[in-house]
C-alpha cells in the first residue's frame, strides 16, 4: 500500500494542476483531501522553482519573472532533483532553456558554472615559488592539477559583461545578450568567484591544461587557434588567480 501510495502521490505532485481532478491518489479520497493535495503540489513545484531562481538569479532578471517561472515549473515537473541536495539541482536547466531562449541559456550556463565553482572542493593553490622549484628546462613537460573550482566555458553570447553588471547593480534590468563568441574562465581564488574573459587561444590552451595535457601540448593547442597568444602572461594569470592546485613532471 505504502509503495503504491508514494508512486501515485509522486505523479500527482509533479503533474500540472488541472483543476477538478482527484490526482489519482487512492488514499486522498473525498473533496477535502483532493483539495488539500493541491497544497502539497504547490509546495513541491514552487519550492523547486524557487531553488532554480536562487541558482539562476541573473537569468531570471534577463527573462523576467513570468517567463522564468513558466520555464522553471516545466523543468521541475519533468526533471525533479535526483537527490536531496538542492545545491546540485539545475545542471540540466541551461539546456532546457535553449529551446526557449538561447541567450538566456548562455547566461544560465555561466551561472551554473559559477554555482559549481562556488561549491567545489577546497585545495591550496599552486604558488609561483613551488613552480620555480622545477628545472626550467623541464617546463614543457609539466602537467598541472587544476583547482577543483576552475572551469572554461565556450558561450555564444556576450553574457559576461551583463552578468558583472548585474552583480554590481542588483536592481537594474538585464538587457538581452548579443550573439558572439565568448570564452570565460571561472575561478574561486580565496572565497570569491572570479570570471575572466579569455582570448580564444587561451581558452583552448587552458582547457588542455585543465584536462591534464603537458604545457607543450597545451601551448600548441592555444597557438593553433591564436598564433599571437601570450603564453607567459596566461600562465601568470592562472597562478595569480589560483586556477592550478599542483604540478608534476
Amino acid at each position: 500500500m505504502l509503495e503504491a501510495f508514494q508512486a501515485q502521490m509522486r505523479r500527482a505532485l509533479l503533474a500540472v494542476d488541472s483543476g477538478a481532478d482527484g490526482g489519482g491518489v487512492d488514499l486522498a479520497a473525498g473533496p477535502l483531501a483532493r483539495a488539500r493535495l493541491k497544497i502539497y503540489r504547490a509546495n513541491v513545484q514552487q519550492s523547486l522553482a524557487e531553488a532554480l531562481a536562487a541558482a539562476f538569479p541573473v537569468t531570471l532578471r534577463l527573462m523576467g519573472i513570468p517567463a522564468f517561472r513558466v520555464a522553471a515549473l516545466d523543468f521541475a515537473r519533468h526533471s525533479p532533483p535526483d537527490r536531496p541536495q538542492l545545491s546540485a539541482y539545475g545542471g540540466g536547466f541551461p539546456q532546457a532553456l535553449a529551446a526557449r531562449d538561447i541567450g538566456a541559456a548562455d547566461m544560465a550556463r555561466l551561472e551554473w558554472a559559477v554555482m559549481e565553482a562556488y561549491f567545489a572542493a577546497d585545495a591550496p593553490p599552486l604558488t609561483a615559488e613551488r613552480l620555480a622549484a622545477f628545472p626550467p628546462g623541464d617546463y614543457a613537460q609539466l602537467r598541472f592539477i587544476p583547482h577543483p573550482a576552475a572551469r572554461v566555458l565556450w558561450l555564444g553570447h556576450d553574457v559576461l559583461p551583463l552578468w558583472r553588471q548585474a552583480q554590481e547593480d542588483e536592481a537594474a534590468a538585464v538587457p538581452p545578450p548579443m550573439p558572439g563568441e565568448e570564452e570565460v574562465l571561472v575561478l574561486r581564488p580565496a572565497d570569491g568567484i572570479v570570471c575572466v574573459s579569455l582570448p580564444p587561444g587561451a581558452a583552448a590552451a587552458i582547457q588542455a591544461l585543465l584536462d591534464g595535457q603537458t604545457l607543450a601540448d597545451a601551448a600548441a593547442a592555444g597557438l593553433a587557434v591564436e598564433p599571437a597568444l601570450d603564453l607567459q602572461g596566461m600562465l601568470h594569470m592562472l597562478l595569480a588567480q589560483g586556477a592550478l592546485a599542483g604540478a608534476s613532471l
Partner: protein
Amino acid sequence: MDTVAARPAVPSVVTLPRRAGIGLRHPHVPAFLADDRPDVAWLEVHSETYLVAGGPRLAGLEAIRRDYPLSCHGVGLSLGAAGGLDSAHLANLRRLYDRLQPDQVSDHLAWAGTGGAYLNDLLPLPLTAGTLDVVAANVAQAQDALGRRLLVENPSLYMPLTLPPGEEAMPEPRFLAELAARTGCGLLLDVNNVAVSAHNLGFDAAGYLADFPLWAVGEIHVAGHRREAFAPWVGPDAGPDAVVLIDDHGSVVSDGVWDLLTGVLSRTGPLPVLVEWDMDVPPLAVLLGEAARAQAHLDRVAQGWVDEGGVARHA
C-alpha cells in the same frame, strides 16, 4: 552520595543545551563570523544545505561550529520511503557529520521522494503497522550508517488520508512511541507542527500532547505559521470561513504555540527549544528576540527542576 545511580541507564536523549537556540540562516552568517559573537545558546542548520564539496559556505559553518553547540537537522532522509533509504545520501551525510561533529542529528516522520526523485517537501504517511515496519527499518539503517542516534520529528500535515478496508491508522503519538522503543531513536517534538496538523486535520492538540511520549524527546521546535483562506479550494464539507494553517516558518511564534510549549515544558522540565524561521528571514535581532521569549519560558519552568546527570527532575 551515589551520583552513578542518578544517571540514566542509556545515554540521555538530550545532547544539546537545555536552552533556546536558533536556526542559522545565510544572511546572519557574517554576524556569527564577526568578533562580537551573537549571544545564543546553540544553533541548528539544515544538513542538506551543507552537502557541498567545499567553498565558503561550509568553511563558514565550520568556523561558527567551533564557538556554538550545533544541531544538524535533515530534511532529505525520507525515513518513510517504501523503497528504502538512499545509501549515497547517507554516506554524504556521514562525511558531513564526521567533519562537523554535531551535538545532535535529526530528520522527520515523512517521506520526501521515491523512484529516484526528490520532491523537496515533507510528505504525509499512512500510519499503519506496515508503515511502522518500514520507518523503523529505515531509522535503524540511518542510525547505523550515520553512527549516531537520530531524533525523529512529528510533521505538519495538510491532507487527511483514507486507508483501504482492513488497514487501521495508529495515532501519531503512539506511532512515534513505538518507533522510539523499537529503534532507540529520540524524538523532536515540533509544537507548531502539532498546532498546524491539529487545525488542518481536526484533532485536539492538547490531547495529542497528553499522549506524546515525552520521555523520548530531545528537542522542541517552535515556529510561526500562516493562516490561509481555504476558499479557493473549498469543498462541500468546508465551511465558508474555513482556513488552513500553512507551516511556512515565516513569522513570529503564535500565542497558541507558546501555550503548547509551556504545557510541555511543565511536564518535562527544561529542554533544548529551537526557534525556526526559514521564509522572509528577519534581521538577526528579531530572531534573537524570539529566542529570548523561548528562553523566558524555559527560565520560568526551570525554577522547579534540577539537572541530575543529564536528566531534568523535579526539585
